[in-house]
């Protein structure tokens, strides 16, 4: 659908308030991050003075011991959780979309039910269990709960995508000489790519932003950024760590923005158009 210039401008006009609504808090965080600590509480939205002290503090200064390992943990945990979740969800969703087996509905319903559970109700038993079996404060100890959190949604999204891909695609591949695995890898997965990227991004964000699991199931070794931020302290006990926290928040937002910019084109659905008659 091509919008006329008039439609484009009216869409633009409508989106301005939405953009402001979402961007104002972001600018606020940025402004706090670059304000010197003396004027943190001056109540001005636009900083009078700009300083990079807060960034220096968390990257090379006193808070770097807390922040940098947490950043590393965050990256490792999120990438692992995303990778495993997407691969598992892909196989599961493919089976659900293509095969007729008893209990198929059951799996989908259970997956949906699981995603309704309030996260906080899982934390206490997990904390106990993890301490007993030695997963407390380890990277797998975080990856596993993230999987359980993100798999249901991933399976639902991906099975919807797989179901849209015409059966004939795969049959054509088989007739062309592909094994089932080849047909899956060379035809089905590329066609489901928008779905795969969507689930990957959802999974990554869920894990990246999680606070509840991160603060309850880790101590010093596997703490991720959202949890680590809670342990920031000011330069003295009379100072609030607001500036440092804001600076850290700005830094952890950067990978998220980059991810969205890279993948926004891939997320566009409708790749299957042209496969079958127009």
């Amino acid at each position: 659908m091509d919008a006329t210039p008039k439609q484009k401008w009216s869409l633009f006009a409508v989106s301005i308030p939405v953009m402001l609504w979402t961007l104002i808090p972001l600018f606020w965080i940025f402004s706090l991050a670059v304000k010197p600590s003396s004027i943190q509480a001056d109540g001005k939205y636009v900083p009078r003075e700009i300083t990079w002290d807060n960034f220096r503090l968390i990257l090379t200064g006193g808070a770097s011991d807390l922040f940098l390992p947490a950043l590393r943990n965050s990256i490792i945990v999120c990438l692992l959780a995303t990778l495993i979740s997407v691969v598992l969800a892909m196989f599961c969703a493919y089976a659900i979309a293509r095969l007729d087996f008893p209990g198929k509905k059951m799996i989908l319903l259970v997956a949906l039910g699981v995603s309704f559970f309030p996260v906080i109700s899982l934390v206490t038993p997990l904390f106990d269990l993890w301490r007993n079996i030695g997963l407390f404060d380890t990277i797998p100890g975080l990856v596993i709960p993230y999987l359980s959190l993100t798999l249901p949604l991933s399976i639902w999204v991906l099975s919807a995508f797989f179901q849209q891909i015409p059966w004939e695609m795969e049959q054509a591949a088989q007739v062309d000489g592909a094994t089932s695995w080849q047909a899956f890898r060379k035809v089905i997965v590329p066609l489901a790519a928008p779905g795969v990227f969507t689930t990957a991004i959802i999974t990554f964000f869920t894990a990246w932003n999680d606070f509840v699991f991160a603060i309850s199931l880790t101590s010093d070794n596997a703490r991720t950024v959202p949890a680590a931020l809670a342990f920031f302290t000011g330069a003295s006990q009379f100072e609030q760590p607001t500036g440092a926290i804001s600076a850290a928040a700005v830094i952890v937002t950067i990978p998220v923005v980059i991810l969205v910019l890279i993948f926004q084109k891939r997320i566009v659905a409708g790749l299957t158009s042209g496969a079958v008659k127009g």
Binding site: P166, E168, M169, Q171, A172, A173, Q174, V175, D176, G177, A178, T179, Q182, K186, V187, P190, L191, A193, L271, T272, S273, G274, A275, V276, K277, G278
Partner: protein, 417 residues
């Protein structure tokens, strides 16, 4: 190159529905076989069983004398063109055509792939579109890409599943001749499923007519047209379709709605004991007596014309008649089998364009009773089928086919490689 044999192949679905019932046929090397029938006759199921996308419930499928029932599609070395083309939308036209070659592990070098895709693209006039994605192609171009993907590797046979049904009428005609040319040139055994009888008649060396999963007749298009074995085949082949008229058997003649047709000694035996038969008369066998002198032995009659349709090269005239109650049920059933609409009983005649027959007027017609078919109203069998003539036509078409193949091979050999 290979021959395909079907021996009593049946398909029963999990819910007990029997889609294909004991179908047997031999498809010769290089032959163009058509599977045709109204929707739901099991023709596509049969094709999918040959290619291996559908399990065979019972019977044997042999390719070059080897039983292949249990082989996966990729092990059968057949290629197929799907009704909706099933192109890979994420790949360019070049990669779509090259796809089967790329799967061949280690066997084919990039240069060989390039050459073969180039050849196929050349043949199908796709050279200008190789870098485009299927989404940006027209229907006919997509169709050609699907064919390119089928011919690029040395498959033992080509299978087509209603490949032209998504194209508009003009393109369909063009692609039809394109397919015929390609098949002759490559000389590859081909099985082609269609519900369009024009495609069946023009493309096929032989045509298999199916009804509700049962083979009605396997014969050359000419034999189907001239010597159909039963009411169903007669009604299915030909356009406009054959007229079926109820006829009372009298002492030495058949009483039709418009006229009386005398018959000889030989015929009397065939209709002995029956007092009602169904007469099949093709629209083109009826002539306008005003502009043409009746042939010797012709039967003349007068009838009221209800509607006429002038098409430039011919004229259709519709003549209503009262159907006999006794055959009504049979003809209605036939109509349903042929996906008909249960329309009024009328006779269509296909006259010359210069005919002056006009609607609402009474006109004089004649036809040659020798061309008329007579069917048993009980089981639909054709009582006038001439087995010897049928054999002669079959032998002739087989000869034609071999000659055409040979000619194609000679041409191929002569052409600079």
């Amino acid at each position: 190159m290979s021959q395909i044999q079907l021996k009593e192949i049946s398909k029963v679905y999990a819910d007990g529905y029997e889609a294909v019932k004991k179908v047997s046929m031999d498809i010769a090397d290089g032959e163009f076989m058509i599977l045709v029938g109204p929707s739901g006759c099991g023709k596509s199921t049969l094709l999918r069983m040959i290619v291996g996308l559908e399990d065979i419930t019972s019977g044997d499928l042999m390719i070059d004398g080897k039983r292949v029932n249990e082989l996966a599609p990729r092990e059968r070395n057949l290629s197929m063109v799907f009704q909706n083309y099933a192109l890979y939308p994420h790949l360019s036209v070049y990669e779509n055509i090259a796809f089967p070659l790329r799967l061949n592990k280690g066997g084919i070098s990039d240069e060989e792939v390039k050459k073969r895709v180039g050849d196929a693209a050349e043949m199908l006039e796709l050279n200008d579109h190789l870098e485009r994605k299927p989404a940006n192609l027209s229907g006919g171009q997509r169709q050609r890409v699907a064919m390119g993907r089928a011919i690029v590797r040395d498959a033992d046979a080509f299978l087509f599943d209603e490949p032209l049904s998504n194209l508009d009428a003009k393109l369909r005609g063009q692609m039809r001749t394109e397919i015929a040319r390609m098949q002759r040139r490559l000389g590859v055994t081909t099985v082609y499923v269609t519900h369009d009888q024009t495609e069946a008649m023009t493309l096929g060396d032989r045509v298999t007519v199916l009804k509700k999963g049962v083979v009605q007749q396997i014969a050359s298009p000419r034999e189907l047209y001239e010597q159909p074995v039963n009411l169903f085949v007669a009604g299915f082949i030909g356009s406009p379709p054959m007229n079926f008229l109820p006829a009372r058997v009298e002492d030495r003649s058949l009483r039709l709605p418009f006229c009386e047709v005398p018959f000889g000694e030989e015929f009397a035996d065939k209709v002995k004991g029956k007092d009602l038969v169904i007469v099949g008369l093709r629209p083109e066998f009826v002539k306008d007596a005003e502009i043409q002198d009746p042939v010797p032995g012709a039967v003349e009659f007068e009838a009221d014309v209800d509607v006429t349709e002038w098409l430039g090269n011919e004229l259709y005239a519709y003549i209503p008649f009262e159907s006999d109650e006794a055959v009504r049920a049979k003809l209605d059933e036939l109509d349903r089998d042929l996906d008909g609409e249960g329309m009024r009983t009328q006779m269509v005649v296909n006259l010359e364009a210069r005919s002056r027959v006009r609607e609402g007027e009474r006109a004089r017609f004649f036809f040659d009773p020798k061309l008329m078919h007579v069917f048993d109203p009980e089981n639909g069998d054709n009582l006038t089928r001439n087995e010897e003539e049928a054999k002669r036509i079959a032998a002739e078409s087989e000869e034609d086919r071999k000659r055409a193949l040979e000619r194609a091979k000679r041409k191929e050999a002569e052409a600079p490689a």
